[in-house]
Symmetry: C2
Subunit: 338 residues, 2 copies
C-alpha cells in the first residue's frame, strides 16, 4: 500500500515481474477488495498470488517512531513480519523509507557485527556499475558505521558482480588525506590499516561515482542520498536538453528519426526506473525499497532486485564473510582511537 | 600559477577574455620569463597586461594553514593582495581552493554580518539557472552560517538574475520537516520565522537542484561539493552513453550527422566549462575560483564571472542588503535556541 500510486503500481509491477520470474510467488498485503479488483483480469498473476488483508497503511509523512508505535496492522509491518516468519523470502515496498527501515531493523534485526543497516544500490558508471551505500538510512554515521558499510558493499560487489577483490572508496570533497569530516579520516585510517577482502582506494569525489573509479562507494546516508538524487536530476536535465536539441531545427528532427531506436536504448540506460530497487543491507532478511514515485516498470525492477538477492543467498554470504572478518573487526576500536 | 596547466591555460584564457571584455586589463602574477614567453605572440593581450614577477606558487596539496604561513610570496597571495590594495578589482585563480579561501579571508576579510564566506556558482536547471552555495568552503556549517548563505544567495539571485523575490531552499534528504541534521532544522526555523528579502521554500532534495525548484539552493560545503561533482560526473556519463548510442548502428550514425549542429550546442549547455568560475561570496573583494583542470575556454569563463561581479558592483549591493537586514539578523540567536 506504499508509494504514490499504490496498490495499482504494485499489482502491475508484480504482473511484469511474474513474466520475468516464472517461479516467484507473490504475497500482496493490503485492502483485499481493491487488490482483488486489480487482479481480476490478471489470471496468471492471480494464480500465483496470496492476498493478506489489511486496510491500514503507513503514511508517507509518518515519523518512523510513530509508525513503529501505531502501525502494527499496516501493510508494511505485516509484510516485514511475513519475511521474519519465513512466509516470504523478501519484502518490496514503495512506502515511507524511514518507517520501512525502522520496522525492518526491529523485526529482522541486524546481522552480527553490523551496528546499522544501510541502503545500497547499483548505479551506472563509465566502466559498468558500482555499488553505492548508504543512500539515506543513516543521516549521521560514525567511522565504524562507514567501515561496516565498506565491508558489506564489498561483499555485494564480490557476490553479485563477481569482482574477486573489489575496490572501495570513501566519498569526500577531495582525494587528499586532510580533506573532510573527522569521521571520514578515522574511517580511512581503519580501512588503510586493516586486512579486508577488498582494496581500499582512499577518498573519492562526487564525479568518481559515475566515473566508476571504484567498485564500491561508501558514504553517510545524507551525502549519499543527495548524490543519488542529484544524479537522477542531472540525467533528467540532460534528457530535457537533448529533447530540445532534437526539436531545434529541421535537420535535428531528421537526425532524431534516424537515431530514434538507439536513443530509446539510451533512455533506458539512464532511466532511474531501470535502477529502481534499493537494497537494505545488514539485516537478517531481504528488504528492498522502491522509489515512491515509480511506475509498474520500475516496481518490477525492484521486485527483481529482491528476487536476485533471494536466489543469490545474499545474506548468508554476508554473514559468512562477516564471520571470517571477526579478527579484523577486533582491530577497529584500537584503530579508531588514533 | 595555479591549476593543472598553469600558466599556459591562464594566459590563453586571458586572451579569450580580452576579446570578450575590451575594457578589462590583466595583472598576471607569476614567473615573468614564462609569462613573457607565453605573451610573445599575443600582442593585443600584452598591451593590456602587467606582469608581477614571482617564482613561488602554492601547491595543490598544500594545507591552507601551511599556505598561509609559508606562501606570502606566492602568486596566489600576491594576487589577493593586489585586490586588497585596490590594484585589481578581482582575483581569478585555478589553484588550491582551501588556500585561496584562507588567504582571501585573511586579507579581504568577511563582510559585516557574515561569519564565513561561501563558494557559490550558477548551475543550469530545467527552468533556467539557479545559484547553489556553499560548494566546498565550509565542510561543517551551523544554522547561522546556512541562514547567511541564504541571504547572500538571494542577493545574488536578485542582483544578477534580476529576480525580485527569489525563492530559497535548504538542501536535505527529504522535504518533510522532520528530515535531516539538527542544524538544518534550526536554520529552517530561522528562515521561516524571519522577514527576509526572499521567499523561503523549505527543504529541497538533490533532484530539485537541476529541477529548478528554487532560485537559490543552500547547503553546507560538504554536501554542496558532492552534489556539484556528482552532477558533473552524471552529465559526463550521459554524454558518453550518447556517443555510444550514436555509434551503435548505421542509422544512428546518420542521425548524428543530421543532428550534429544541435548536439554541439547541447554539449556547450551541459559542459562544466561553460559554468566554470565559482564565486567566493561574503568577502570584501571579488575572488573567483576556476576548476583546476579547466582549459582556456573554461578559464575565460571564470574571468567573465569576476568581470560581471566587478561591473555589477556586487559586494556593495550585498553590503547594502546586509545592513538593511540587521534587525532581522538580531532575531537569530533567539530562534536558534529553539
Amino acid at each position: 500500500m506504499g508509494g504514490d500510486r499504490a496498490p495499482e503500481v504494485v499489482v502491475k509491477g508484480a504482473n511484469i515481474a511474474r513474466d520475468r520470474y516464472p517461479n516467484v510467488r507473490f504475497l500482496l498485503i493490503g485492502d483485499e477488495v481493491r487488490l482483488a479488483r486489480l487482479l481480476r483480469r490478471k489470471r496468471r498473476l492471480r494464480s500465483r498470488t496470496t492476498i493478506h488483508h489489511t486496510t491500514e497503511a503507513v503514511s508517507n509523512d509518518a515519523r518512523p517512531s510513530a509508525a513503529l508505535r501505531t502501525g502494527r496492522k499496516s501493510s508494511m509491518w505485516l509484510a516485514i513480519q511475513a519475511v521474519r516468519d519465513g512466509k516470504a523470502q523478501g519484502v518490496v515496498s514503495a512506502g515511507n523509507t524511514g518507517a520501512l527501515m525502522a520496522m525492518a531493523k526491529l523485526m529482522l534485526r541486524t546481522l552480527p557485527g553490523i551496528d546499522r543497516p544501510a541502503i545500497a544500490s547499483f548505479i551506472p558508471t563509465l566502466r559498468g556499475e558500482s555499488v553505492v551505500l548508504d543512500l539515506g538510512a543513516n543521516v549521521e554515521c560514525n567511522a565504524n558505521n562507514l567501515v561496516q558499510f565498506a565491508v558489506m558493499g564489498a561483499i555485494f560487489a564480490r557476490t553479485v558482480q563477481g569482482f574477486d577483490r573489489p575496490t572501495v572508496g570513501l566519498l569526500n570533497v577531495g582525494s587528499e588525506d586532510m580533506k573532510g569530516h573527522e569521521e571520514l579520516k578515522v574511517a580511512a585510517g581503519i580501512l588503510r590499516g586493516g586486512e579486508f577482502p577488498f582494496q581500499f582506494h582512499g577518498f573519492v569525489e562526487g564525479d568518481d561515482i559515475t566515473g566508476g573509479t571504484v567498485d564500491v562507494v561508501v558514504t553517510d546516508g545524507f551525502s549519499g542520498n543527495i548524490a543519488l538524487k542529484t544524479a537522477e536530476g542531472t540525467a533528467r536535465l540532460v534528457g530535457q536538453f537533448l529533447r530540445e536539441a532534437f526539436k531545434s531545427s529541421l535537420s535535428a528532427r531528421l537526425g532524431y528519426v534516424f537515431a530514434r531506436r538507439a536513443l530509446k536504448k539510451l533512455r533506458l540506460r539512464v532511466d532511474p526506473r531501470s535502477y529502481n530497487g534499493a537494497m537494505f543491507v545488514g539485516l537478517n532478511g531481504i528488504a528492498v525499497k522502491s522509489h515512491g514515485g515509480t511506475d509498474a516498470f520500475g516496481f518490477a525492477n525492484a521486485i527483481g532486485v529482491a528476487v536476485d538477492m533471494a536466489l543469490g543467498g545474499f545474506n548468508d554470504r554476508i554473514k559468512d564473510e562477516l564471520a571470517r572478518l571477526t579478527p579484523v573487526r577486533a582491530l577497529e576500536p584500537q584503530a579508531a582511537s588514533l
